[in-house]
Amino acid sequence: MKEEAKDCNSDRLEAASGAREHKAIITLMHGSGGLATHRLVRDLFLPLLTNQWLEPLNDSALLSIEGTPLAVTTDAFTVDPLFFPGGDIGCLAVHGTVNDLAAVGARPLFISASFVLEEGLSLDDLRKIVRSFADACRTVNIFAIAGDTKVVPAGKGGGLYITTTGIGVPIRDPAPSASHARPGDKVIVSGTVGDHGAAVLLSRGQLKLQAALPSDTAPLWSMVERVITSCSGVHCLRDLTRGGLATVLNEIADASRVTLRIRENQIPVKPQVFAACELLGLDPLYLPCEGKMVFIVAPEDADQALKLIRSDPLGREAAMIGEVTAEEPGLVLMETALGGLRQIEMLTGDPLPRIC
């Protein structure tokens, strides 16, 4: 033991001197969907790739080809584990793509996908995942029109990654956009927040906690269609994914240059999610969802929109959680259940459990 320890020490010094030529690198924080992800997109990708279609950074790009309006989105899925309560990476990929199209008010039509497979993945698992992908496509009535597969050596991929491209047709002009929120508008969330994040965290099994808690992964187009065809006052739509409700609200406040004021006691959270967050020191506002949409709606249409969302099986727990104000551009404020006021920031880094 002692000798081993000495060895360890000399190696260490070498390694430490190497570390002096430290450069900025990608860390897992860049994938959290929070501020680090935004900076990466804004500071590295956007300046090199910018054009009028990419610039708005909406969930889907809106284009027009020879007079025909189109919505296009692309997305990658790397969830661990591949199978989790309530779904798997296959249906998740379809739902995520469909919801990105729905967020610009586009009817989803086609999807393409590439599957990056890790050596050692079981064919049975792959078949289950592709079947789930196919079933999800059928449910929302879209067609998988192109695909690709690649295999990477064992240890170089998390079992299976999927990237997709979705194509849809916007049915509303102007399309809802994160920059269209106006003072006076109401903020509606289509159901309980944090379900997917909590379900995946618990299903990893590292926390030794158990709860009957499925992911909320689901396609939201039919809900969105119902609302936007009846209410002209839907100004923004945003599906809640990485970074959770807090991050999405900050994106909207920033893009529209308004303040969003929400009320803590009106945000729907499942008791299991609340309990897991209390135990682990996490905040449900920052946990990802995969089947929830935020609607920002003109005040005169808000009650009708809420009624329509609640009439959808996926929107029964929808709630009006706040308003848009003109107080200070880019700010999200929450009135706490006790009557205090708290600023809600974007997610900064992966939510890590606290130690005491």
Binding site: M1, K2, E4, A5, D7, C8, N9, D11, R12, L13, A15, A16, G18, A19, R20, H22, A24, I25, I26, T27, L28, M29, L35, A36, R39, D43, Q206, L207, P271, F274, A275, E278, G281, E328, P329, G330, L331, L333, E335, T336, A337, L338, G339, G340, L341, R342, Q343, E345, T348, G349, L352, P353, R354, I355, C356
Partner: protein, 383 residues
């Protein structure tokens, strides 16, 4: 939810706030909340604003991540950079900047760093992966020290040869006495930490009352706990009868937790002195692993060689930890130092005073000062 919502009842909270304000009259009381968990809760529930201006909270040195000097973190990072080592630690520690980089960054470069929820999980990593030397980077007050103690005893019982503990556990009371001795911080009374006190017991706080005449109310972590504690403390101060009172009765006993204290006694000695970030060297304030367990002590098995830790220039974490200055007095706060790219440790942990103010309190602070403009956009700087 049972056992939580009872402690967050808005009507009771409003009544308590009213009583506190009435009790305070026109005076402002300066209370130090020592525990980072309390700091976080005061901001998260919006209590800071609701109590203003009757109560001014002074944040104390109770965030374990914040008080660890850079030098010790650099040593942990040096351990992690060894390809034979797997460094295991609590999540809070991962993003704290060392002199050059964070554990998250060295992990991204290929170092084997794993976040664990318990030191026993680190022990399991050693058992299941005999090809690596697992070093558990142990930090925290008396709250987390008993778990490390159990793990050390388990490692000895199992005769594990590839498991070491890098012990950085610290003792709270010596730090509080140190702050009182320097006399720079004007404090009317202390809101005592509930978890540490569950282990060390209420009676451990006697010296603060007997020698310094300051009252202590040991508090729970829910809004009503905190409000009740503030009310109890203000009454003590007004009546000039300082004492140790326990508000968190569902957890804290006079004599503490004898089993945990016994385990610590078996595994740790008290260091002559230990360095704290911002406070400097404080006598009798740290734990070290006892001689009988030297085979599991990383400091002895892999001798200490990191020389000087670089504390970030311009950062006033030290003053913030002593309660001498507030986060917004720092020239870096919200500008180059943000939770996204923290410079000082107080900005990293969600329990750090700077992070709590940045995440939840900036708005109210700006409003109070009549500054309506947005804090300037942070710039990405690499040190």
């Amino acid at each position: 939810m049972r056992y939580v919502s009872e402690f967050r009842n808005p009507d009771l909270a409003r009544r308590l706030i009213g009583q506190i304000k009435e009790e305070c009259g026109s005076r402002t009381y300066r209370l130090m909340e020592i525990c980072g968990g309390h700091t976080h809760a005061f901001y998260r529930f919006g209590l800071v604003d609701l109590l203003y201006p009757s109560i001014e909270l002074v944040h104390g040195p109770g965030c374990p991540v914040c008080v660890l000097p850079t030098k010790r973190l650099d040593q942990a990072i040096a351990y992690a950079l060894n390809p034979k080592v797997l460094l295991a630690t609590y999540g809070d520690m991962m993003r704290v900047p060392g002199s050059r980089q964070t554990l998250v960054e060295v992990a991204a470069q290929g170092a084997d760093v794993q976040m664990v929820y318990s030191p026993l999980d680190a022990l399991a990593l050693a058992q299941h992966g005999p090809e690596k030397i697992v070093i558990f980077f142990a930090i925290g007050f008396e709250t987390t020290a008993p778990a490390t103690a159990v793990t050390l005893l388990e490692a000895k019982r199992k005769g594990l040869k590839n498991f070491l503990v890098f012990c950085n556990h610290v003792r709270l009371i010596p730090a509080i006495i140190f702050i009182l001795d320097t006399g720079k911080t004007a404090i009317d009374g202390f809101i005592g930490p509930g978890h540490v006190s569950t282990i060390i017991g209420a009676k451990a706080w006697r010296p603060v009352v007997d020698q310094y005449g300051k009252g202590v109310v040991i508090s729970g972590f829910e809004p009503l706990d905190l409000l009740q504690s503030v009310w109890m403390l203000v009454r003590q101060i007004k009546q000039r009868k300082p004492q140790v009172e326990v508000q968190y009765r569902r957890s804290v006993r006079q004599e503490g937790n004898p089993i945990a204290l016994g385990l610590m006694e078996q595994t740790f000695d008290i260091r002559e002195t230990f360095e704290w970030r911002g406070l400097g060297w404080i006598p009798k304030s740290g734990f070290e692993i006892r001689d009988e367990l030297a085979l599991w002590d990383a400091e002895r098995m892999v001798p200490y060689e990191v020389t000087e830790g670089r504390e970030p220039r311009g950062c006033i974490c030290g003053d913030v930890l002593r309660g001498v200055r507030k986060p917004w007095d720092c020239p870096l706060f919200g500008k180059t130092c943000t939770p996204q790219r923290p410079i000082g440790a107080c900005m990293v942990s969600s329990e750090g005073a700077c992070a709590a103010v940045y995440l939840h309190g900036r708005h109210s602070h700006r409003v109070r000062l009549g500054l309506q403009e947005k804090v300037p956009p942070e710039t990405l700087t690499h040190r």
